[in-house]
């Protein structure tokens, strides 16, 4: 059945002019196509931001290097951070949500297909606007180019006085626009999950991915809005002479910090919770057991969502808050480690007693588990305020959050790619290339980010375009840079695999992994309408019930 659907689509596609296909894609409101558009968009910017990271690392390879000027370097780290967060990780996660959520809950599309398309194009436009700054950011005074204030855009560095020209405005408006896109998609995700589940799919029978994306979307709505508000205030400061962050008029630089981090901390949970979703779907299938402790996983996720709104000032331990404020945020930061740790234990419990298969998706999940554990532990170290007074603003922090984002989230994303690529394209990704990708990336990742903790401990601050020789940082930085290149090669192997397998990969069939959720009950790729008839479910693993009528989950639900 799947090969027929593919054959029909290919035959149709072959006969049509390419402009028609392009037009179809540009005007699509189908959640699957929008999902693919998000992911392709994110992959493009992954390469761009990766190049920016490579420029940074080449400049820092040795002390007093002059590969780029300080002005260019400062733009590189600002754009690298901004791009990776807003135009790589968030879009790719929204892309997966778009593709998977309706299929996994037995719906035909998202709740608001046109809002879906609108949100995607808002985000896409935001990214293009941000990068247009390289070309068009000159402004009246010839000052300005791409934004160079760091991705947090701290006041008053972003005021007109210290950032003349328009580079800051490109940052502000690009993120404002894509922020609206993110809010739109999140509204869509929540409405879809709450209102469009197929019959029988009570909330307690939803795949964990749906719960996790529900939480993530809720966090987006609550956290992107403060950033939007702060950006409006910054724009009003810069253009209408307002004084929100104008310290000369009695304004407060710390107020920007509070507003930014009230967004910034939940944002990192926005980024990591879908990673949790992917491994929560993949580990059970490759361990051949259901997820251990489903209700606890749901509870822990909701707990993380709530507590994450209360920890933000652990990014601000050094700004001179009182000892009581600092202690409060130490407390909430430590507390959030508990539900997070519980999740790791539950994944461990899922694998325990299973029959683990080590195809590429599972390799990346195992990498995720070890690396996210380490990242969480360095997070606990950073949560202890006095330790933070030494380590914040240093390369230790950069190592920590890259450990989470690359070692955790990106590994989970790679797992998700290898797992769901067959469903989206109807073809399997090449497993040998997949393993090569995994090993190369693993080596490069550890070479870079394990070592990166050390310069921080030895006093190397972040966001510096060069450093003094003889501080013990020289060789370490060289090793870090070499690891970057290895990771780059691994990503190229991955991209090559994507392209090669799309055309030549073996046909996947409906259910290549012997999995249990609804998306595996339809063809690969699914038909436009998803399900011939909307299914009714009686348990969390409808396909397990079908494959094991002698021992269905519905007996225990």
């Amino acid at each position: 059945m799947s090969s027929d659907a593919m054959a029909i689509q290919t035959a149709e596609a072959a006969g049509r002019p390419w402009v028609e296909t392009l037009h179809e894609w540009v005007t699509t409101v189908d959640h699957k196509r929008l999902g693919i558009l998000y992911v392709l968009y994110a992959l493009f910017f992954l390469v761009v931001a990766g190049i920016e990271a490579t420029v940074i690392r080449i400049q820092l390879m040795r002390p007093h290097n002059d590969f780029v000027s300080p002005q260019v370097f400062n733009r590189m780290f600002t754009m690298h951070g901004t791009t990776m967060i807003f135009f790589v990780v968030m879009p790719v996660l929204f892309g997966f949500a778009n593709y998977l959520v309706p299929l996994m809950i037995g719906a035909r599309d998202m709740a608001f297909p046109r809002l879906n398309a609108f949100s995607f194009w808002l985000t896409a436009f935001g990214g293009i606007l941000l990068y247009f700054s390289f070309v068009g950011g000159f402004g009246l005074y010839g000052a300005g180019n791409a934004p160079d204030t760091g991705w947090w855009a701290y006041a008053p560095l972003t005021s007109r006085a210290f950032s003349p020209g328009h580079s800051t405005d490109y940052w502000t408006i690009a993120l404002l626009v894509s922020g609206f896109g993110s809010i739109g998609t999140s509204i869509n995700i929540i409405a879809t999950i709450l209102c469009m589940r197929c019959p029988g799919m009570k909330l307690s029978r939803m795949p964990l991915l749906a719960w996790l994306y529900l939480t993530m979307a809720g966090l987006v709505i609550l956290s992107i809005s403060p950033l939007t508000a702060a950006q409006m205030m910054l724009s009003v400061d810069r253009y209408l002479g307002a004084h929100f962050f104008d310290t000369q008029a009695g304004g407060s630089a710390a107020l920007w910090m509070h507003f930014f981090w009230i967004f910034g901390h939940p944002e990192v949970y926005v980024l990591v919770i879908p990673a949790f979703a992917f491994v929560s779907e993949i580990i059970p299938v490759f361990s051949r057991k259901p997820i251990f402790g489903y209700p606890v996983m749901v509870g822990a996720t909701l707990c993380i969502g709530f507590v994450s709104m209360s920890v933000w000032a652990h990014h601000m331990y050094t700004i001179g808050m009182s000892s009581y404020s600092n202690s409060f945020f130490v407390f909430t930061t430590m507390v959030i480690a508990v539900p997070t740790g519980i999740k790791i234990f539950n994944w461990l419990g899922t694998m325990w007693g299973g029959k683990i298969r080590f195809e590429t998706p599972m390799l990346f999940c195992i990498g995720f588990l070890f690396q996210f554990l380490i990242a969480g532990l360095t997070g606990i170290m950073l949560g202890a305020a006095p330790f933070n007074w030494q380590l914040s603003g240093s390369y230790f922090v950069i190592a920590h959050f890259h450990y989470v984002i690359v070692g955790g989230i990106l590994f989970a994303l790679f797992a998700a790619f290898y797992y769901w690529f067959p469903k989206v394209t109807g073809r399997m990704l090449n497993d040998s290339l997949g393993k090569l990708h995994f090993w190369l990336f693993l080596i490069g990742f550890h070479m870079t980010f394990d070592v990166m903790h050390i310069p921080g401990i030895l006093g190397m601050p972040r966001r510096i375009y060069t450093y003094e020789p003889g501080r013990g940082w020289d060789t370490l930085n060289l090793i870090i840079t070499i690891g970057t290149f290895i990771q780059g090669i691994a990503v190229l192997v991955f991209v090559a695999n994507l392209i090669f397998s799309y055309f030549k990969g073996p046909r996947a069939g409906n259910d290549p992994w012997d999995a249990w959720t609804l998306e595996w009950s339809v063809s690969s790729p699914p038909p436009e309408y998803n399900f011939a008839s909307i299914p009714t479910v009686a348990s969390r693993r409808p396909l397990w019930d079908r494959k094991h009528p002698e021992d269905p989950d519905s007996r225990y639900d």
Partner: protein, 356 residues
């Protein structure tokens, strides 16, 4: 099937490599801890504390590291064990394993234990926070006001009548009769952060806000640090140099810094260049009519080892280069290229060299 084996062992080996790299890193850092104390400390490691706040932080960090290391060992061992023990063996009958949904007791156990750990960590941390932040200021404390600028440090000793820049001199503190230095932190423009790892954790300098920090170095020597909050183009070269001296040597330094500028009759030409060009708009030289506040005080310029906040050594050549082409040393700094003739420039540098 063979592929599965390779995958499984490979995953384990990969984990082990990762752990080894981290352990190596920790050992390297620890090696630095146990090295003999040096007077000159080119490596500003947080694990080489020389002052009470830095010491307290190291002690807390040992505690935190011990707990996190223990957690890592336990969980990583369990993960490794699971990955090895429960792998799908070749030739296994195609039966699915027992489909276990969960276990309330286990969930309770691994909820309660982390909560207890969190509690202990929090209490230990809160104690150190209060010890450092709420430490009372003894009467004998030295008060210094640090003002952050783009991209240099202004230091004022209000009780002693001293104004200097970039290189901080403070007395060593005897634990029996403590003479700590209490810094009041202000900013003239954007956010900065004062970080000398061996003396204390960092505290930010934020405009329109007064922050405080203290340090009581137990050992004389020169301690290095730099600005740790991105403040603009030349954030990277806003370096710090703290000279901790014996009380006698510190008094000698203070006495010389309090004096107005030395009036050297030989270099009147250079002095005239200084006073008739834009130099006086930004720089102060005590006892002359140069009273600019935008740039560093130059009254005792030659008492410093470096110029441009540590960006270059304080030599005749560098001084000359700095005045003529600041971008060659610190591109993007706010020092303008003075566009002087060679003769004027030479005279000016000779004049500056008299500012001992």
């Amino acid at each position: 099937m063979a592929k599965n084996y390779a995958g499984k062992w490979g995953a384990v080996i990969g984990r082990v490599i990762g752990v080894l790299v981290i352990v190596a890193g920790i050992l390297l850092a620890a090696g630095l801890c146990t090295a003999a104390p040096r007077v000159d400390n080119p490596v500003p490691s947080i694990f080489e504390p020389r002052s009470t706040p830095a010491d307290s932080i190291v002690h807390l960090s040992h505690f935190v590291l011990a707990i996190t290391a223990l957690i890592f060992l336990v969980v990583a061992t369990l993960l490794t064990y699971a990955v090895v023990k429960f792998r799908n063996k070749a030739g296994d009958p195609q039966r699915e394993p027992a489909q276990v949904y969960g276990s309330t007791q286990i969930e309770l156990a691994w909820t309660v234990i982390p909560i207890l750990i969190v509690f202990v960590l929090f209490l230990a941390t809160a104690r150190v926070i209060h010890a450092i932040q709420d430490a009372p200021k003894p009467v004998a404390a030295l008060e210094v006001t640090a003002i952050g600028h783009q991209f240099w440090w202004e230091f004022r000793y209000p009780a002693l009548g001293v104004i200097t820049a970039n290189e901080l001199h403070i007395p060593v503190s005897d634990p029996d009769h403590p003479t700590p230095t209490f810094l009041k932190l202000l900013s003239a423009d954007t956010d900065h952060s004062f970080w000398v790892p061996q003396l204390a954790g960092k505290t930010d300098l934020i405009p329109n806000r007064v922050n405080e920090m203290w340090m009581d170095p137990h050992q004389t020597g020169i301690f290095l640090g730099q600005c740790a909050q991105y403040c603009g183009t030349q954030h990277a070269k806003m370096l710090l140099r703290v000279t901790v001296e014996s009380p006698e040597a510190f008094q000698v330094w203070v006495n010389s810094q309090k004096q107005p500028a030395i009036q050297d009759e030989k270099e009147t030409a250079g002095k005239r260049v200084f006073e008739t060009t834009a130099c006086v708009n930004c720089h102060e030289v005590g006892g002359t009519n140069a009273t600019g506040r935008f740039g560093p005080d130059l009254t005792h310029l030659m008492s410093r080892h470096t110029i441009a906040a540590g960006a270059a050594e304080n030599t005749k050549e560098n001084l000359r280069l700095w005045i003529q082409t600041p971008d060659a040393i610190k591109p993007g700094s706010l020092m303008p290229a003075m566009q002087l003739t060679d003769a004027d420039l030479d005279a000016l540098v000779r004049y500056l060299e008299t500012l001992q």
